[in-house]
């Protein structure tokens, strides 16, 4: 690996702004549904293209950076599209295209109210997510992190029912508290390190700490990013947030928001503290313990949920901690596995949520116990569901296997057997809570025959694409987006301390 070359480019800024401008256009064209949806689609495609434009450079070690101005003396508002940022931005913006198509089918299928607010908030969320991905320093990260918090709120309470409102409150309590902890941690970091710029391998340099201080600082950070990463015991907002419409759960509560959380965890572990400090103060062991416990507990809790979306939510909680575990183990393969799981879990979980949404729109069913024989009415949807479920259980050839394999390899590299056991056990549990759904759907006869078949094309095609993507990424992890190469580069950067 060579030292990356930094060049100034405005593309990261455009990538952030596209959907913000789209949000404005969406609000202005609230009376013309087709025009409004056109803006959403156009913005998502433009955004993805912009991010994709940055990819070849990043693979060649050329990193785009854009600095606006100082936002506080000594700290600039700056975007930097490093490999890790591009990795995350590619996933979020790519899946946004599919989610946009799906959303249109969903809200029209259900004749949802306040669609303008829905699409506008969605666009703002995506801006914030890309901002998080490209943030060059902690303060910029915090800024977009908080924007994401606020922009997601209208989506959580979208249904405006009592449940939705109380879910919204819960969401705010958790995320605003997290934001406050993150701000405290950021301020403290700035006073210690004198800089907030992310640097692979840690930004503290030679600053000296007392063990107590660094533990508290780490806990503050973990509280800050851990809430969005849904690390137990900070997870309970996520199931509650399932009150949101399904596309929101699909993109935000399986990809953008929660992945911003784990993205933050990796940033904190790899780019703020760095492997040396983590190991020196045993913070990695603490983090791995929390993540391992979350994986097992969340999988067990998933069994108890009869509501399909809730089961998926708990499954998400568990899988997010795979990524955290990968970061905590700090071995080359575990980092690669964790990072790949950001992408892989995204494609699989979004498929599952898309399926849940399709079932709800077409048949108004939310509970697993009502899904007897639905596989016959919706063969494509449930087929996609099965593919994704297999992947989450870690069975080849779906992409979940790749990340799990790397994680297992990583725990061996780290010389730890316990994480390996956790992974195996969790794979079994995953299989355990997905199997009943699939067997019900395909092998039980429905009590009442289904009146409808598949949902509209706008919904079925995206979910088939994501399922196909899951398989393709399982067979060729480096396909199109070079996720694998990016992950290897990032992992090498963190562990080798090479790069900036």
């Amino acid at each position: 690996m060579t030292y990356p070359e930094i060049y100034r480019s405005i593309i990261p800024f455009y990538a952030v702004m596209v959907s913000l401008i789209a949000a404005l256009l969406i609000m202005l064209s609230s009376r013309h549904a087709n025009l409004r949806e056109f803006w959403t689609l156009a913005a998502s495609i433009v955004k993805f293209s912009l991010v994709f434009l940055l990819l070849p450079g990043a693979l060649a070690g050329r990193i785009a950076e854009y600095t606006f101005w100082e936002i506080s003396p000594g700290i600039a508002l700056a975007l930097k599209a490093d490999q890790f940022g591009i990795f995350f931005a590619l996933i979020a913006s790519g899946l946004w295209i599919l989610t946009s198509i799906y959303s249109i089918g969903y809200v029209r299928g259900l004749k949802e109210h306040k669609q303008t607010r829905y699409f506008a908030s969605f666009a703002v969320c995506l801006s914030a997510t890309i901002g998080i991905a490209f943030a060059a320093n902690l303060l910029t990260f915090v800024l977009f992190y908080e924007i994401l918090t606020i922009a997601t709120y209208p989506l959580v309470i979208h249904k405006e029912t009592k449940i939705a409102v109380s879910a919204g409150r819960k969401y705010l309590v958790y995320t605003l508290t997290a934001g406050v902890l993150l701000i405290a941690a950021t301020a403290w970091t700035y006073r210690i390190a004198g800089t907030l710029d992310f640097r692979a391998g840690g930004l503290f340099g030679d600053a000296s700490f007392s063990p107590a201080a660094i533990t508290v600082l780490f806990l503050l950070f973990l509280g800050g990013v851990g809430v969005k990463a849904a690390v137990m015991p900070l997870h309970s907002w996520l199931p509650a947030a399932m009150a949101a419409p399904t596309p929101v759960s699909a993109l935000l509560h399986a990809v953008a928001v929660v992945k911003s959380g784990v993205f933050g965890v990796v940033r904190v572990v790899g780019f703020v503290f760095g492997p040396t400090l983590m190991r020196q103060f045993d913070l990695n062991i603490f983090l791995a313990t929390v993540a391992g416990a979350t994986i097992i507990l969340a999988s067990l809790l998933a069994f108890r949920q009869d509501n399909l979306k809730f089961r998926l939510a708990y499954s998400t909680v568990g899988h997010l901690s795979y990524i955290v575990l990968g970061a905590a183990l700090l071995s080359p393969a575990s980092l690669v596995g964790g990072l790949l799981h950001i992408a892989n879990h995204a494609t699989m979980k979004i498929t599952l949520f898309f399926c849940a949404g399709a079932i709800y729109v077409r048949h108004h069913k939310e509970k697993i116990s009502e899904l007897d024989g639905i596989g016959r009415a919706m063969p494509w949807t449930m087929g996609a569901f099965t593919v994704a479920a297999i992947g989450l259980a870690g069975i080849p050839p779906v992409n979940g296997f790749i990340s799990k394999w790397q994680l297992g390899l990583g725990s061996l590299q780290a010389g730890e057997m316990l994480p390996l056991a956790v992974l195996v056990l969790s794979g079994l549990l995953n299989a355990g809570y997905f199997a009943p759904i699939i067997s019900r759907a395909f092998f039980k006869t429905p009590t009442v025959p289904y009146e409808h078949g598949e949902a509209s094309y706008a919904m079925v095609i995206p979910l088939l694409v994501t399922a196909l993507l899951s398989i393709l990424l399982g067979l060729y992890p480096d396909l199109f987006f070079h996720f694998y190469r990016l992950a290897v580069e990032v992992s090498g950067g963190i562990l080798g301390g090479i790069g900036r």
């Binding site: 506080s72 003396p73 918090t149 309470i157 406050v180 405290a184 301020a187 403290w188 006073r191």
Partner: protein, 504 residues
């Protein structure tokens, strides 16, 4: 003329304040126009002053040509020019809004009202610019008396609230006067710069300590530092909407400015933080005040009262920044003077719009029809509320950011915790309103019946936002919070950091 620009603002305001009753004998509408013209003039002159200071450093003006320490001196450094500009801009925007209200709260008293507004501003500008301790007292009293009038001009319980404020305020002013009496006896001078130079020679003198304590208590009452905040909630609640919107952003900030000026620039940082650690006391009291104000704000059911308690908490931020007595805390405090003036101004203007529309500002009666009728006002409210909570990139975040850095610098984790916890408490009482305004359906829809006629009537009872003069000021104030937030580093580096008190 141009060289005399420091003295021009108070004189202009004083002259127009006196002229208004004369000019408006025949047509009362003239009063408003004259007041707005005067406000525009003072904004322009203070902007020009700010520019001059920014370009060429501090300006002084000697009244009657008498040299200090004998004569009265006006000093415009970047701190005073900055605060003066903030005060004048906010006052100008609020005045524009007052015209749209058409004196609904102050029926028949609009001429004295505008006269009082200008007196109030004259006092504020005088306080900020003067370099003389006794002159400051005189302006403080002009400012306060006009403030009592602005509050007492309202309906119902306003005179009672104003009377209480007057009693407390006079005690405060008397303490201040007593304090500078002590200071004069031991130094023989009233000129701030002169006193600052003399004081280090007599630091052991108990009269200096007594003077400092009396001045801090006196100014503390005007500033409503906990536990001297008793007068504030009633005064802000019962005052006419437009008066609250003027007094709340400016009143306590001016007192905060006086505290900064006298503690750090007259007594000196070393004296107030080490010889007589009064800054620690202020910091702790402010911290308690932050929590107290936020908790009390949650308990209120009336929007203006809630905002009043929230003001106590926000004053606490400024007090905390002063009490930290380090550069970052100082930056946080001065920046928060600006930010809070804009935030509170916007919030009180929206409260005024709600009152104008529905005749009340009861939080429990708010519902989604208010958002439909007042979309822009509510957008302004939302943005200002997010800034109060302290979410980036709004301005409110950055004052908290500097305060947090200051608290960490001082190594005081309690203060850090207080700053952060209060953000969450702010979120509680602002989201309570936002939830209602955006989510609770109006009663007609709540029953599940589809009665378009009735809904129409209900919505008809709200006048709506056809008036630009009511909407634009609130929107301007709150949207500038975004700008102030994103560009805060320029303000900090270009203005505030230029005049960090010596010894910090």
């Amino acid at each position: 003329m141009i060289q005399n620009s420091p003295a021009l603002v108070p004189l202009l305001l004083l002259a127009t304040a006196i002229a208004i009753p004369v000019l408006a004998i025949k047509k009362t509408g003239v009063a408003y126009l004259v007041a707005v013209a005067a406000a525009i003039g003072s904004v322009a002159i203070s902007a020009y002053n700010m520019f001059r200071v920014w370009k060429g450093g501090p300006l002084t003006y000697h009244f009657g040509g008498w040299m200090p320490p004998i004569g009265i001196e006006y000093v415009l450094d970047s701190l005073s020019a900055f605060v003066a500009l903030v005060v004048n801009v906010v006052a100008f925007i609020v005045l524009c809004h007052a015209g749209g209200l058409k004196g609904s709260d102050i029926s028949g008293k609009s001429v004295p009202y505008y006269s009082l507004v200008l007196l109030f501003l004259c006092g504020a500008n005088g306080i900020v610019m003067t370099g003389d301790l006794f002159n400051l007292y005189v302006f403080l009293e002009i400012f306060s008396l006009a403030g009592y009038g602005l509050i007492g001009i309202g309906e119902k319980q306003a005179p009672v609230a104003s009377f209480r404020y007057l009693i407390m305020g006079t005690v405060g002013a008397s303490f201040y006067l007593l304090g500078i009496g002590f200071l004069y006896i031991v130094t023989g001078s009233l000129n701030m710069a002169d006193v600052r130079d003399i004081l280090p020679h007599i630091h052991g003198n108990p009269a200096v300590a007594a003077a400092l304590s009396l001045i801090v208590i006196g100014v503390g009452i005007k500033m409503a530092i906990f536990p001297l905040q008793g007068w504030l909630p009633d005064a802000y609640t019962y005052a006419p909407s437009t008066s609250s919107a003027l007094v709340a952003p400016i009143g306590t900030k001016i007192a905060a400015y006086v505290l900064i000026r006298i503690m750090f620039f007259v007594f000196g940082v070393k004296f107030v933080s080490q010889s007589l650690p009064i800054t620690d006391l202020i910091a702790w009291l402010s911290a308690i005040g932050i929590i107290y104000g936020s908790v009390m704000a949650i308990a209120q059911n009336e929007m203006k009262r809630m905002l009043a308690y929230s003001s106590i908490a926000q004053i606490g931020y400024i007090g905390l920044g002063i009490g930290l007595a380090n550069p970052l805390g100082y930056i946080g405090a001065v920046l928060h003077i600006l930010n809070h003036a804009f935030m509170k101004g916007a919030l009180f203007l929206v409260a005024a719009n709600i009152r104008k529309n529905s005749g009340h500002s009861d939080i429990s009666k708010l519902d989604a029809s208010y958002r439909k009728k007042l979309p822009w006002s509510m957008a302004a409210f939302t943005l200002a509320a997010l800034s109060m909570i302290g979410l980036p990139p709004t301005a409110g975040f950055f004052s908290k950011w500097y305060l947090a850095l200051g608290a960490i610098d001082k190594g005081n984790w309690v203060f850090l915790a207080v700053i952060l916890i209060s953000s969450l408490l702010n979120a509680v009482y602002f989201f309570r309103i936002l939830e209602k305004v955006y989510l609770v359906p109006p009663p007609a829809q709540k029953a599940g019946e589809d009665l378009p006629a009735e809904t129409k009537n209900r919505e008809g009872s709200l006048i709506g936002e056809e008036k630009y003069s009511l909407m634009i000021p609130a929107v301007v104030l709150s949207f500038s919070l975004l700008l102030l937030g994103l560009l805060n580093a320029n303000i900090v580096k270009g203005i505030i950091q230029r005049i960090i008190p010596l010894g910090m």
